[in-house]
Symmetry: C2
Subunit: 316 residues, 2 copies
């Protein structure tokens, strides 16, 4: 359908160790971080270039594994000190993590500098970090054609002006329901989305955890349920891997701003399909702790579950 | 598609006065009750026969209005005393009502006796009342061909054996998510549904409030989002009017057990379509207090919003 070549995605965010407790069990000091989940998901579709910082305690094997998966880790800075560490838990409401502790460690002085090889990526994903850093990265990319980002309540309330500066340059915002309400000061999904669109992003995906997501494009609204899984082991990374599949699919399809303007209907449908991939990807992520399931997930696994999910959404 | 003639639905449940407070405002002593919401919704599709009890304070004008709407109220007993009165409120979680007071009044000694004219209804909906009464009504119906029911935590924990007796005769259970988990002692939707199916009902609709619903038939699973409304005024009656549209649509299509057995695929699709109607109907109900919106709702209004909703669900 699309003749554009697959394009690499540049992404900036966190590489981390997570210690997490869920109703299904617990995991200590396991691999986590937004760009980690994002890259593993997106790399099933397109090459990825990461900008991030890790400490000297970060396993080199994992960087090697990412390399094998079509992820360029040459922009990952290795700094003296410890890797970012997040400690959190989920109670029976699996839609919301409770942060127990955050040790920024080397992340505290993260100064994202792009290698020359990374400055011409047409597609950019700014994972959930300080909006000042998001903009700093974006300003180093020449001629980007499609930019997406994530954010959270911490930045919405802590750096609202900075976040709004970033949002002006963003084409797609992926955000949780509560955060969408906080950012927009609205209480209904549709009003929130329309208000956020006026801040910059023409396209918004509002994530609702186990209840699915809502997509708002310039021409339409798409309501996607979540895929039903028997047991949620660990919701950590669901949103980042969701975004990874969305962006991977879009990059593979050659998505850019011109496409959005030239054929808004086709654009709307392209984004709907990307949300389906995002939903299915997230459903795998939550079936294991850390990146356990994503490490072995194949494109065939994804396509197989996608078929099943499409039948669950069909009115018939 | 279906050649069977439209068949009347017999329904038993409550006619009530409600006093309700929601984030949008409050309403005192307004018309409510499960069969009231159910009938108004279902009567857009098919004739309805109500079995219920009201006090001598119940407005005759309302019974007259129901009559005009194709609802047979000759089975509504008028007893000396006051009509059932429910007092409740919703906080920001609009998915769950908090009951502040319940005055059963004439409902306390409700002894549902069917007029002879009501005993041959092929389609039956047992709204959320004591499962003993549900069964008592069902036993008075000769040769029913399709039976649906609703229930709640109060009966699931209070009369589990009696509820299970009723469920053995039920073809479709409409129930809230929390209640499905309580009834099945499971924590995932699919496991809960499969377990409830083993109790009798081949078809289950699990309602998730603002997040939509999930349908489980013998051959498939359908996940429906909720229609997006700008503001929820009062969620009361959403579930009952949802069931009303589902059952009205099914009765109009001539749904019965034979159809379910003879062509399980067509049956599955019929039920998916019914859930779409239920969802759209509920979205109107919650846009006003009491039966305010349902009183003036036309089939055209319903079809128009259904089209919009179908576009919101389409992957494209």
């Amino acid at each position: 359908m699309h003749t554009s070549p697959t394009r690499p995605i540049l992404t900036v965010g966190s590489m981390a160790f997570d210690s997490v407790r869920t109703p299904a069990g617990k995991a200590d000091h396991v691999l986590g971080g937004s760009v980690n989940y994002f890259s593993l998901a997106a790399s099933l579709f397109t090459p990825i270039k990461i900008v991030a910082v890790v400490g000297d305690d970060f396993p080199k094997e994992h960087l090697g594994f990412l390399k094998e998966r079509n992820v360029d880790v040459s922009g990952v800075q290795v700094a003296a000190g410890k890797t970012f560490h997040w400690v959190g838990e989920y109670d029976t409401n699996l839609n919301e993590a409770k942060t127990l502790a955050t040790a920024l460690n080397v992340f505290e002085h993260f100064d994202p500098k792009l290698p020359e090889t990374h400055t011409d990526c047409p597609v950019v994903f700014l994972a959930n970090i300080d909006p000042v850093l998001q903009l700093q990265v974006l300003n180093q990319v020449r001629g980007h054609e499609f930019v997406a980002c994530d954010s959270m309540n911490f930045w919405i309330t802590g750096k609202p002006a900075e976040l709004k500066e970033t949002l002006k340059q963003v084409d797609l915002l992926c955000i949780n329901e509560k955060e969408a309400f906080l950012l927009s000061d609205e209480k209904s999904l549709e009003k929130a989305a329309r208000k956020i669109q006026s801040m910059g992003p023409s396209n918004i995906i509002i994530k609702r955890g186990e209840y699915g997501s809502a997509l708002f494009t310039p021409t339409g609204t798409f309501l996607a349920p979540a895929f039903l899984v028997d047991e949620v082991i660990d919701p950590t990374g669901a949103g980042d891997s969701f975004a990874g599949a969305v962006m991977g699919y879009l990059a593979e399809a050659g998505a850019n701003r011109a496409m959005m303007k030239n054929d808004p209907q086709a654009w709307d449908q392209l984004l709907r399909r990307s949300v389906v991939y995002g939903t299915v990807m997230a459903s795998f992520t939550i079936q294991d702790f850390s990146i356990g399931r994503l490490k072995t997930l194949s494109r065939e696994d994804l396509m197989h579950r996608r078929e099943k999910f499409m039948r669950m959404m069909s009115v018939g």
